[in-house]
């Protein structure tokens, strides 16, 4: 390593810029690396790591690939000016680190210096308390940073044959022999060694991993958000249905492409983590809205589908802390594409259909409270909501049963009162009670909209609450932190809407 360093120092001056030129070129983004049990382009891994460490996918003007690479160079004894910082939010941790008032961003170099202190605080902190969690999170980040800095975090392929690829940490891969040899033909020997590795891999093994790079670079979730938002604006502000319909169709095409890319990269149905379920529910609801709207000849479904899709796409694009877009290998029990693509898609589609009823019910409630709506129109809209509920409940029942059959097939029991399945049944029970009441005219239209809007909170509880609040059960693939605040805010906002739009008249208007 020392020899490599000498070589490098001879070749370049020690500014970040020259190092960037000689080693950390943007072209490295397509380098295949192995991490988390799969092969992916460096850019994907670098973005995910940088996002996790700093909350951003860039460092100043440097891209994630170059930043990640420069941090790795530090481990090879090559200094540079990249100084990554992370957010420290916990009050006690701010005190422990003696940060100044209002200072929340702390450099990893400083955190590394204070690692003994942080670890000792972690030892002493109250078990399961927020301080302990916060310290554990910081310790994990410091360890990851150290791993990157020691040039161990990315494994580069050493291709012997198509079936014999050894994956070596970058620090171990860059041997003196390789660099000296590369120097004979290139003035950027380090870059050449790595690009040669990429070329070898693409030539002998495959180029499939590059699909993911194309997917990431296309930024399709952002494109889908733009399209669906444009559609929503067109239908609400400019009142042009046909143009909105075009935007809706383009959104569906874009989202189909997102799903197709993810299926290609992961090799399984794209519904295995929170990010993908949110994506699929928005996509499914818009698709359902277009189909139902077409057959019922009702344009408002397109508005409802677009509105819900905007919500999901906003979450996908801007709630990275809660929804991670990374594609990871599945736990063994979920590795069954048939059941995964039948049970989970049915359930998520049902959530999409119920979301349509939720948006429509809230729209009617707001319209009624702040504008006006005749009883005949209320009856008409209650029928539209009822249609969404019919689709939602049938798919939910089918999804629960498919889940039962899968559970019976995998675990040996049809029903086990697991929190996820129990909450799905709660959702079904609540909607069945509403449907029974509506079908027999026991629930008047006014109350019907209130109940439908409120009932969606049970869907959110089954969908997010079990993972973020209850955090237990066999459906453990989706557990993560950070969603409790989102869910609490959603409940608060929905209850506020219900409180603002509630009128005594609601109980008197019968169907």
């Amino acid at each position: 390593m020392k020899a490599i360093l000498s070589l490098l120092l001879l070749t370049i001056s020690l500014s970040s810029f020259s190092i960037e030129l000689h080693f950390c070129d943007q072209s490295l983004e397509s380098l295949p690396i192995r991490q988390d049990g799969r092969i992916k382009p460096l850019k994907v891994h670098a973005s995910e790591m940088l996002k996790y460490l700093t909350g951003k996918t860039k460092y100043e003007k440097l891209s994630s690939t170059v930043t990640f690479c420069l941090v790795s160079l530090k481990g090879m004894g090559i200094p540079n000016e990249v100084d990554l910082k992370t957010n420290i939010e916990h009050v006690d941790l701010i005190k422990t680190l003696e940060l100044k008032d209002g200072e929340h961003r702390v450099s990893f170099e400083k955190l590394e210096e204070n690692m003994t202190l942080i670890r000792s605080e972690w030892q002493k902190a109250e078990e399961h308390g927020s301080y302990k969690k916060s310290l554990a999170s910081v310790l994990n980040k410091i360890n990851l940073y150290k791993d990157i800095k020691s040039a161990n975090n990315w494994l580069v392929p050493l291709v012997n044959s198509k079936d014999d690829v050894a994956w070596l940490p970058i620090g171990a891969y860059l041997t003196e022999e390789k660099v000296v040899k590369a120097r004979e033909t290139s003035d950027r020997p380090f870059l050449k060694v790595l690009k040669d590795s990429e070329e070898q891999y693409e030539k002998i093994v495959d180029k499939d991993f590059l699909i993911e790079l194309t997917y990431v670079k296309m930024q399709l979730p952002l494109v889908a958000l733009f399209l669906t938002f444009a559609g929503l604006i067109t239908i609400t502000l400019f009142r042009k249905f046909n143009i909105a319909l075009v935007f809706a169709v383009l959104t569906v095409i874009t989202q189909t492409a997102i799903l197709a890319f993810r299926v290609y990269v992961s090799g399984r149905a794209p519904i295995t983590n929170m990010y993908e379920t949110v994506l699929f529910s928005g996509y499914g609801s818009l698709l359902l809205a277009l189909v139902i709207g077409h057959f019922k000849k009702e344009k408002i479904y397109v508005f409802v589908g677009l509105a819900y899709n905007v919500c999901t796409l906003l979450m996908l694009n801007f709630a990275g802390g809660m929804l991670s877009s990374s594609i990871s290998p599945l736990v063994p029990v979920l590795r069954d594409n048939f059941w995964l693509s039948t049970h989970v898609t049915t359930i998520i589609l049902s959530y999409g259909a119920l979301a349509l009823s939720w948006v429509l019910a809230n729209t009617v409630l707001i319209r009624k409270r702040f504008f006006s709506m005749s009883p005949a129109d209320e009856r008409y809209y209650s029928d539209l909501v009822y249609t969404c509920l019919k689709y939602g409940t049938v798919m939910l029942a089918a999804g629960i049963i498919l889940g039962g059959v899968w559970a019976d097939y995998s675990w040996g029991r049809f029903w086990g009162w697991d929190p996820k399945e129990t909450w799905s049944l709660i959702v079904l029970c609540l909607y069945m009670a509403i449907l029974h009441g509506k079908y027999t005219s026991w629930i008047p239209n006014g109350r019907f909209f209130l109940l439908v809007a409120a009932a969606f909170m049970s869907v959110m509880m089954a969908w997010f609450g079990v993972n973020y609040i209850l955090a237990t059960g066999l459906h453990s693939y989706g557990f993560s932190e950070g969603g409790a605040i989102f869910l609490g805010s959603f409940f608060a906002a929905q209850i506020l809407v219900l409180a603002l739009t509630y009128t005594r008249k609601d109980n008197q208007t019968h169907a």
Binding site: D36, G37, D336
Partner: protein
Amino acid sequence: MSFDFQKKLEKTERFLGGLKFAVIVITIFSIFMIVGTFFESYYGTDFVNRTIYKRMPFMVVQLGIFISVFFAMMLRLPPKKRLYGFYAIHTGLIMIGCGSFITWFSGVDGTLSLDPNTPARKVVLTDDILRIIYHDDGKTVMRKLPYVAFETNIGDKYEDVTLGDFYPFAEKELYWRKGNNPYAMNASIHSSTYILSNPNVTQEFTLSLHPEAIEFEASARLGLLDVTYLPKNLVTCFGDNNPSGYIIWDSKESSCFTPESRSIEIKNTSEGNKFFVVNQDSKFYSFFPDFNPWPVDEKLEVIKDSHLRVFSKKLFEDKPNLFLFGENAAYFEDNKWHMKSLKDKASIITLPWMGLELVLKKHDNSKFPSFRPVATMPVQLNGSLIKGQTKALKIEVLGKEYWVLDDRPVTLRINGKKVSFVLDKEILTLPFEFVLTKFKMEKDPGTNKPASYESFVKLFTDKGPSDHHIFMNNPLKHAGFTFYQASYSQDPETGVYSSTLSVNVDQGRPLKYLGSLFLVLGAMGHYLLNKRKVKKSDSADILNLEKV
């Protein structure tokens, strides 16, 4: 049947099949489930099963739903075309209900642990039982324990044994107690609790030499540091930096001496091995201290029950070794043994490794540490219990009380006969046998995350052996039983994997599947048969879209 009774019957039928009753039972059912999920989140799956899901009130509510569904259908007979979907939904629900009842009533749900190349046929079920094993009579008596969530007094009596309090969820509380047996005044039966810490780590540990302290040992390994707990009287010899480094311990007298203190000559054999001879009570004990702590007799046979033992300090000078003698400690540093006292409560010994400091928290010369169960609410974290993992049953035998724990059976002599009490799970013995021939674990490349785990088993039946491959989503069905790959474990020392299969018998399965099909198809049919069109007025266009 009187007219009034007929009228009341019809009224009851209308109520039970009516919407109000349906909504009431669905609401109560939902409330139970909501509470259940929160209970499960905080207190664990076993607790919620014992308080809600497998308790009578919840089953009564489910029966209420069944009744509601049944009467709702009855009220709508004779059949009408527009209600065909409705009939299918409700028939489906009734079938699912019946199937679930059959599963609950006669199904089997347990686990089978398979160690490599070891025959296994015992399926562990979920019910707690007390097994009383009469060793001398070759008899075992089983008593099923109540399926409860809270402390319950059983109050049963069987021969000389009375069953008392049963704690389904308990914590082990450490306490110090006197022994049941008499001991000599100078016996080395002391116990101590120490705290070892540095800025990064703090660890409390308890060591004991008391023969009744079955839950505590006389040695511990704390990272790279080996800790050995020795009789307190050995300390006098440890401090002697005697040239040979040998100490002889006399367990009869609870005293020690060194060869140098008794002018015992240390000789070399013709092969250069060290040996010396102790003459005590006109008996000769020959020691080869570098090979065996026990002496040999005149015939060079090892005397394993000898009261004399030799201890060679030199064997412990290379690696970090800490010797504790209750209120004293010894360690080797800078080519000599250091003795430190912990008698003063404020004493802190600074050890020569990793900035470690040692404090004596508690010491007792006769009492010893033991655990007693305390009933508690369980606490779950990340899918497993972190509090309340212990089950405990109090038994009274011949006027004395004992606690039987699920990880600590009690063995007593009752009227001269050996009897063991074991708190266990109910066992089902299979009419055939399994042997795990191979366990395959695949991991995601470059990680430790399991990608799949698979069991290769040999099944021995009357018809001979057969080979099977069980893995996730690929169970084995045999003789009405279904075996699923559920879990695995790995021996920390040998690294050998064992497999855990989930074993299931479900006679209600066909009904549940058929009912599910009826339910889904019925729901689709119902909506198709009951399409209704509500007319849209001009004012209903709340978006005010442009007319094209």
